[in-house]
C-alpha cells in the first residue's frame, strides 16, 4: 500500500468498528478527497458518515467539536495544512481546552487530518509545515507518520484517542519515499518494507518514537519526509548515524531521544518548517537540558529557511541532501 491507501484503510477499519466515527471535509465525500484519501468511504459507509462540508475551516473544526461533545468521533480533513489557519481559534481555544475548562465534562475526541509539507511545486499556499504552532498550544496532540505502515497504525490510535489530535500527512511521500533529489526518478512504496501494510486492524501507540537506523556516531531527530532524506544522506555518506523518527511531537518520546543522544554524544535535528520558533528549537532545548554533559558537539539544526515557501526556488528552500550533508560535516568535525 502507499500512504494514501494506508490512511484510507485506517479510516475504513475504524468506521467499520465504531459507528461513531465519521469523516468530513471539503471534497471528501463522493469524490474521495483531492488526494483520494477518502475514496470509496462514502459509497461504503453512507452519506451521513462521510460527507462534504462547506468551505469554512473554522466551521469544519467548530462543528467537529460539537459532534465530539455529542459523542461522535469525527475525523475532519483540512484539504491542505496551509488552510488550517482559519480554524486556529476553534482548534487551540476550543478543541484543545475543552477537557481542561469543563473538568472533563466535555472532551474533543477529534482527529484532524491534513496533508502538509512541500516538494510538489505548491507555492506558498500548498507547502507549509505548521506543526510548531500546535505543539506550542497545550491540549492537542500532534502526529506525523513517515511510512504507510506507521500512518495506518498511528491514525487508528489517533482516532481511538479521546483527545484532539492533529494528524499531519507528509504529502511528498504519499506515493513513495523521497531521498531529497527532486531530479531523480521517484520511488514508490511497493518496493519498501514499510509499504507492506496489513489489511486488518493494528495500532501504533502515540508518543513512541522509532529508531529507523541504529548507530553510534550521532543522533538525527527527524519526522515525516525528512526521515527519508536523512536516511538517504546517511547511507551515501557512510556515517554510522542513529536516525530517530519522532512519529509524534506531542506527546514526545523523550526516553528514546535521551537514550540515543547520551549514547552517541551528538545531536542533529531536521525539519522542513521554518527555523525560528520551530519544533527543532524545542527539541534542541530538551536535549540541552537532559544531555548537556554528554554532548561532544553543539546541537545542529537543519530546517526550512525563515521565508515563505517560494514557488520556483522550492528546491533551494527544501532542507535537502546538500544542507543536511554540510551539517553532518560540521557536527562530525572533531570526531
Amino acid at each position: 500500500m502507499n500512504m494514501i491507501q494506508a490512511i484510507n484503510s485506517a479510516m475504513d477499519i475504524m468506521m467499520e468498528r465504531d459507528p461513531d466515527v465519521i469523516v468530513m471535509g471539503e471534497d471528501v465525500g463522493y469524490f474521495g478527497g483531492v488526494f483520494r484519501a477518502t475514496a470509496g468511504l462514502q459509497a461504503k459507509h453512507g452519506k451521513t458518515r462521510v460527507f462534504d462540508t462547506p468551505i469554512t475551516e473554522c466551521g469544519i473544526i467548530g462543528v467537529a467539536v460539537g459532534m465530539g461533545a455529542y459523542g461522535l468521533r469525527p475525523v475532519p480533513e483540512i484539504q491542505f495544512a496551509d488552510y488550517i489557519y482559519p480554524a486556529l481559534d476553534q482548534l487551540v481555544s476550543e478543541a484543545a481546552r475543552l477537557r481542561y475548562r469543563s473538568a472533563g465534562e466535555f472532551t474533543s475526541p477529534i482527529t484532524v487530518r491534513s496533508p502538509f509539507g512541500g516538494g510538489i511545486f505548491g507555492g506558498q499556499t500548498h507547502s507549509q509545515s505548521p506543526e510548531g504552532l500546535f505543539t506550542h498550544m497545550s491540549g492537542i496532540k500532534t502526529v506525523i507518520p513517515s511510512t504507510p505502515y506507521d500512518a495506518k497504525g498511528l491514525l487508528i490510535a489517533a482516532i481511538e484517542d479521546n483527545d484532539p489530535t492533529l494528524f499531519f500527512e507528509p504529502k511528498r511521500i504519499y506515493n513513495g519515499p523521497f531521498d531529497g533529489y527532486w531530479d531523480r526518478p521517484s520511488q514508490n512504496w511497493s518496493k519498501h518494507p514499510a509499504g507492506e501494510v496489513p489489511t486488518g486492524y493494528y495500532k501504533i501507540e502515540l508518543g513512541k518514537a522509532k529508531i529507523v537506523r541504529a548507530g553510534e556516531a550521532l543522533t538525527i531527530l527527524a519526522y515525516g519526509t525528512m526521515v527519508h532524506v536523512c536516511t538517504a544522506v546517511v547511507a551515501e555518506a557512510g556515517i554510522d548515524a542513529e536516525i530517530v523518527d519522532l512519529r509524534t511531537l506531542v506527546p514526545l518520546d523523550i526516553e528514546t531521544i535521551e537514550a540515543s543522544v547520551k549514547k552517541t554524544g551528538r545531536c542533529m535535528i531536521v525539519h522542513e518548517a521554518t527555523r525560528t520558533s520551530g519544533f527543532g528549537a524545542e527539541l534542541s532545548a530538551i536535549v540541552q537540558e537532559r544531555c548537556f554533559y554528554h554532548l561532544e558537539a553543539p546541537i545542529e539544526r537543519v530546517t526550512g529557511f525563515d521565508t515563505p515557501y517560494p514557488h520556483s526556488l522550492e528546491w533551494a528552500y527544501f532542507p535537502g541532501p546538500v544542507r543536511i550533508g554540510e551539517a553532518l560535516k560540521k557536527i562530525m568535525k572533531d570526531a
Binding site: 463522493y30 529557511f305 525563515d306 533551494a316 554540510e326
Partner: protein
C-alpha cells in the same frame, strides 16, 4: 421527570446531506433551473434603499434574450464599439487560457486555472469599472487584467516563474499581482481578499477619495468566515465596495448545495446584512456590465456596498490538477441553460448588424496568433520546466523591507553550502 423515556414517542431526527442532481453517467436536464425572461427584472434608482428591492436578490437580471436582442431596463445601451471591444477581450481570455492550459500539460509550468464559460464575469465588470478602481480578485478573474489591456507576456512570465516574472518566482502560477492595473495580489487562501477590499474601500472613503473597490469569490468560498466579516464591516461603514460572487455551480467536486444553494440564492446573503443584492445572468455580458455599473454608481454616491451573484457555469475542470469527469456528468457544460457568454455577445452584435461570423472567425485566428506570439516572447525569458531562473539568494528578498541578521545568516549559509557541495557529506573535504 414525567416518564422514564421522555422522548419515546418522538420521531427520530434525520441528517440532510445535499446531493447534486447529476453524477457521472447521468443524463442532464436543467429544466428545473429557473431562467426568467430577459428584460423582466426592474431596475431601481441607485439611490433607493436596499430594503426596497430585496426581490432582485432572488431573480435573475438578464438583458440578452434568446434571439440576441438587448431588452429591458437593465440594457446598458453600449456603443457597438464598446461591445466589440468587450467581445474581443472575452475571446482573447479564452485563447489565452487555452494556450496556457496546454503549456502546463507540456510541462512548461506547474499549474493553471481556466475561466472557460465564465469569461463575461470578469471582463464585463472590468469595462464597467474605472481603471483607477481597485480589484481584489480570486484566482479565476484573469479576465480583469486582459480587459484592462495588461501585457499577456507579463502574465505569462508570471505563469512560467521565469527571469522576467515580476513576482520573482515566489508566487504560484496565475496568482498575479499588478498594482499598476488595479489588480491586488492574489492569495491562495480563499476569501481573504474580501475583508481587504472592504478595508481599501473604507480607506478611500475616509480619505475623501473617489475610487471604489471590487472583489470576487466563488460561491463555495462564501462559506468562509472572512466573507461574513467583510459583509459586516461593509454594511456598518457603508463601504464603497462591490462584492461579486461567481456562482459557477462547482467548488472543486462540491456542488453549490454545499455552500447553501438549496435553501436560498447567494445574492440573498446581502439581505440579512442590509446590503443591496443583485442576482445576474453571469453569461450575459450586458447584464454583468449593467449590474456592475449600477453598483459602482451606488458606491460612488455613498449608498454603500452592493453584492452581485453572477449565475454561471464552470465549463472546465477546477484546475490542471482536477478531473471533473470523476464527479459530474459530462453533459453538464453543454446543457447549461444560459449558454456560452462569448457566443451570446457575438450573436447580439450580429443581430444589431455590427458583426458577422467571418469577422469573428478572423478575429479568433488573429487572437490565437497574438497569444502564440506572446508565448514565444515570454518563453525567451524561460519556462519553469527549465530549472531555476531566479538567483538563489533572491529566496530571502521581500520577507521584510530590510533583511534582519538571521535571514542574512541563513542566506550566507545557503550560498556557502551550495558552492561547497561537490560531495557535501565528505567529512574530510
Amino acid at each position: 421527570m414525567a416518564s422514564e423515556h421522555p422522548r419515546a414517542n418522538l420521531q427520530p431526527l434525520t441528517l440532510h446531506i445535499p446531493e447534486p442532481k447529476f453524477r457521472p453517467g447521468d443524463a442532464v436536464d436543467f429544466a428545473e433551473v429557473d431562467v426568467p425572461p430577459a428584460g423582466e427584472a426592474r431596475r431601481p434608482d441607485t439611490a433607493d434603499k436596499a430594503s426596497d428591492f430585496i426581490d432582485l436578490a432572488y431573480t435573475l437580471v438578464r438583458v440578452l434574450d434568446d434571439d440576441g436582442n438587448a431588452v429591458g431596463p437593465w440594457d446598458p445601451k453600449l456603443s457597438p464599439d464598446v461591445l466589440r471591444r468587450m467581445l474581443r477581450s472575452m475571446a482573447l481570455l479564452r485563447a489565452f487560457d487555452e494556450r496556457m492550459f496546454r503549456a502546463q500539460r507540456q510541462g512548461k509550468t506547474s499549474f493553471y486555472m481556466k475561466a472557460l464559460g465564465e469569461e463575461a464575469v470578469a471582463v464585463a465588470a472590468a469595462y464597467a469599472l474605472d481603471y483607477e478602481d481597485m480589484c481584489f480578485p480570486s484566482y479565476r478573474q484573469q479576465g480583469l487584467l486582459i480587459a484592462r489591456g495588461w501585457s499577456l507576456v507579463d502574465m505569462m512570465n508570471q505563469i512560467y516563474s521565469n527571469t522576467a516574472d515580476r513576482l520573482g518566482g515566489k508566487q504560484l502560477p496565475i496568482m498575479y499581482s499588478v498594482k499598476e492595473a488595479g489588480f491586488f495580489s492574489i492569495s491562495g487562501n480563499l476569501t481573504t481578499q474580501y475583508p481587504q477590499a472592504v478595508g481599501w474601500a473604507m480607506a478611500s472613503a475616509a480619505k475623501g477619495d473617489t475610487r471604489i473597490a471590487a472583489t470576487w469569490c466563488g460561491e463555495g468560498s462564501t462559506a468562509e468566515g472572512d466573507f461574513h466579516s467583510a459583509l459586516t464591516f461593509a454594511t456598518v461603514y457603508r463601504a464603497p465596495v462591490i462584492f461579486n460572487i461567481v456562482n459557477n455551480q462547482w467548488a472543486i467536486s462540491s456542488f453549490s448545495g454545499f455552500a447553501g444553494a438549496e435553501a436560498t440564492t447567494f445574492a440573498a446573503r446581502a439581505v440579512g446584512y442590509g446590503i443591496a443584492g443583485l442576482r445576474v445572468d453571469g453569461n450575459d455580458a450586458l447584464a454583468v456590465y449593467a449590474a456592475t455599473e449600477w453598483a459602482a454608481e451606488r458606491a460612488r454616491t455613498n449608498q454603500g456596498p452592493t453584492l452581485i451573484e453572477h449565475f454561471t457555469y464552470r465549463a472546465e475542470g477546477h484546475s490542471t490538477s482536477d478531473d471533473p469527469g470523476q464527479y459530474r456528468s459530462e453533459g453538464e457544460p453543454n446543457a447549461w441553460p444560459l449558454g456560452d457568454p462569448i457566443k451570446r455577445l457575438k450573436d447580439h452584435l450580429i443581430a444589431i448588424g455590427e458583426w458577422d461570423e467571418e469577422r469573428h472567425a478572423a478575429q479568433d485566428k488573429e487572437l490565437a496568433e497574438q497569444v502564440k506570439a506572446a508565448q514565444k516572447e515570454a518563453e525567451k525569458n524561460g519556462i519553469l520546466g527549465h530549472g531555476l531562473h531566479q538567483p538563489l539568494e533572491s529566496l530571502f528578498d521581500g520577507v521584510f523591507e530590510e533583511m534582519p541578521w538571521h535571514l542574512k545568516e541563513q542566506r550566507q549559509q545557503m550560498l556557502d553550502e551550495e558552492s561547497a557541495s561537490g560531495r557535501p557529506w565528505d567529512i574530510k573535504a
